[in-house]
Assembly symmetry: C2
DNA sequence: ATACAGTCTGACACCGGTGTCATAATGTCG
DNA sequence: CGACATTATGACACCGGTGTCAGACTGTAT
């Protein structure tokens, strides 16, 4: 099998390289007859353009980078799956790059990535999507980027997020409607903007229903299962014990459930537990977790699609969208017992 | 900031492009003085070679592809994390490509991937690592590849696997030593070689201890949580009910635990449950799952490292290794009660 | 018929590196 | 000291595409 290049196609079709290139890129100013002829030769010779040569000439790589630093593996998996869908649709490839927000030289690390890979664009997932420093760097270097679940408002770049505050508000209201008033809350990682938003939704729902906010009911987590376990311990040791716990993600909620079960506290009869994200684990355990479904895949898919659009044709008005979060009720929440 | 290319370096250092290229690639036949001089200019100008141009000239991409089709997200995460470690160490990038083994044109799909991305090598994870068809294709196309957890023996290519049979044998023996004789087994996906190996370890342990193998105790799963739930139903409906269940992975074991808990069957008092893999979920639920720790990250890391070595310098003897699996006991298994 | 705009096409340089080969500089040995 | 092997270096083509620009070929208005 000989290699089929643009030269062989040109020769075979009896036209110049450049004309072949024009057909390849759907450029105007090619007569229909010529276009037809070249396309036929593509078929005949089964020609595939070499992306590397193309990249060299156009200074592009057709690769999108995805930055992440997230303790929740399932979140990453969902992010990847959305990003991959968009990439595959547009013949881009996805390069994954885990790194640490608090690493001593995040900027150096990203610079290194950019010089070794010449990415066409970068998707920032939390907590990077909230890093002003990183965003300033990318802007200065003129690298297209899209923010997923970012709370930064002033930046005129692509941004897709879901309504975390609204979701947390609805979930809290759900618990209140079940008769709960002692609702503990486990916060997420302080570097993530979702943490503040979810917390604020919780507080607003309490306020709306005239329930006093009590700081002792709030524990500091960081979205990891482990931090959930620590918070669970603090909360379940409280006297009197709250009748409901709202954890900022499903992993931490699972940790609460584990400890409660260990201590033979009946869920949901004696304790209602709710999470956030609708991660797989929410339905893999018993009782299933009431949670807020966050469209992680979709957010990322849209972000990457818009990023690719933007790379092909930089526009004035960057795409920004807020998706709705949705309440999913399962067995882990129940009306408060009148004991 | 002006672009620093090999030309500017050459000019600045007062040598030819080619000599710069020699220094870049650590080629011999450069005088120490010249090498020194050029290296200093690298520093001074902060020169980074353009990987795309390099790729074009050498017909390489510095990208490793990772093929997967696995219902277990946590498995994929672990695979990626091992592969990434090796890639980053050697300045390669990782491109992830999910696709379906049973898809109508797996070969076409992979061919497409190869023509659009010019991968330098491919890591095959289960079930692709057992696909003779795919392996034959890669061999014919002369694409370097490494197999992770493959059972194919004749193929002289890089292969890293763990001892599934031994692991399953030990786990089964552990249950037997606890007094169990009615041990149900949930098989994995038939396309994965691990499925047969784990099953065989189970059978051999029974045989060694003179316990009759009974087909009615065996359910067909496919490694997904969902299939575990179906199998769990079949097994827990058996009369008499087995006193232990060994599921071929932790997800399916979690499904058994969920159903048992729903039916108020006490684990481990009335039913011992064990899984395989030591996935995160094994310690995120209560009771924690007794399982076999499989070094997924390490297997993949080694596979990718060897693959990169092989790309740089094709050797005669391909690297092959079998890693040990290790028993992890948690709360989900217990001595059979004498009721 | 002439002028002129618009459409089509190809020659050629270029992207930023590497491979091949010729030649210059140096070292070794009889 | 001359003959020869070895080391060091650069000129140049090449990888497989794209950008620029000039020129040929239309069609239309004057």
């Amino acid at each position: 099998m000989k290699k089929v290049t643009i030269n062989s196609v040109a020769e075979y079709a009896g036209v110049s390289k450049k004309t072949v290139s024009r057909v390849l890129n759907n450029e105007p100013n090619v007569s229909p007859a010529t276009r037809e002829k070249v396309l036929k030769v593509f078929e005949e010779l089964n020609y595939k353009p070499n992306p590397i040569a193309r990249g060299l000439a156009q200074n592009r790589s057709f690769i999108i980078g995805c930055l992440y630093d997230n303790p929740s593996k399932s979140y990453i998996t969902r992010v990847q799956s959305g990003a991959l869908e968009a990439c595959q649709k547009h013949s881009y490839n996805l390069l994954i790059h885990p790194c640490e927000l608090r690493g001593q030289d995040l900027i150096d690390n990203v610079e290194q990535l950019l010089t070794t890979s010449r990415l066409d664009g970068i998707v920032l997932t939390p907590p990077f999507s909230d890093s002003n420093e990183l965003i300033a760097f990318l802007k200065q270097r003129n690298i297209p980027y899209a923010r997923v679940a970012s709370a930064i408002e002033g930046d005129d770049s692509i941004s897709i997020r879901s309504n975390d505050e609204q979701g947390a508000f609805e979930l809290t209201e759900h618990l209140i409607n079940l008769g709960h008033t002692e609702i503990a809350f486990i916060k997420g990682h302080p570097d993530h903007s979702a943490t503040e938003n979810r917390f604020s939704g919780y507080q607003k729902a309490l306020a709306k229903h005239g329930i006093e906010y009590r700081e002792r009911l709030v524990a500091e987590g960081n979205f990891s299962y482990h931090s959930g376990a620590d918070s669970a311990k603090a909360i379940l040791d409280l006297e009197p014990r709250p009748t409901a716990v709202f954890a900022s993600n499903d992993y931490m909620a699972a940790a609460v459930l584990k400890l409660a079960t260990q201590r033979e506290i009946k869920v949901p009869e004696q304790l209602s537990i709710a999470g956030f994200d609708n991660a797989p684990i929410a339905r893999h355990i018993w009782p299933g977790l009431t949670t807020i479904a966050q469209p992680v895949e979709e957010m990322t898919r849209i972000a990457v699609e818009e990023l690719i659009k933007h790379i092909a044709q930089p526009q004035e008005a960057p795409f920004q969208q807020v998706l709705e979060a949705k309440l999913i009720t399962r067995e882990s929440t129940k009306a408060r017992s009148n004991s």
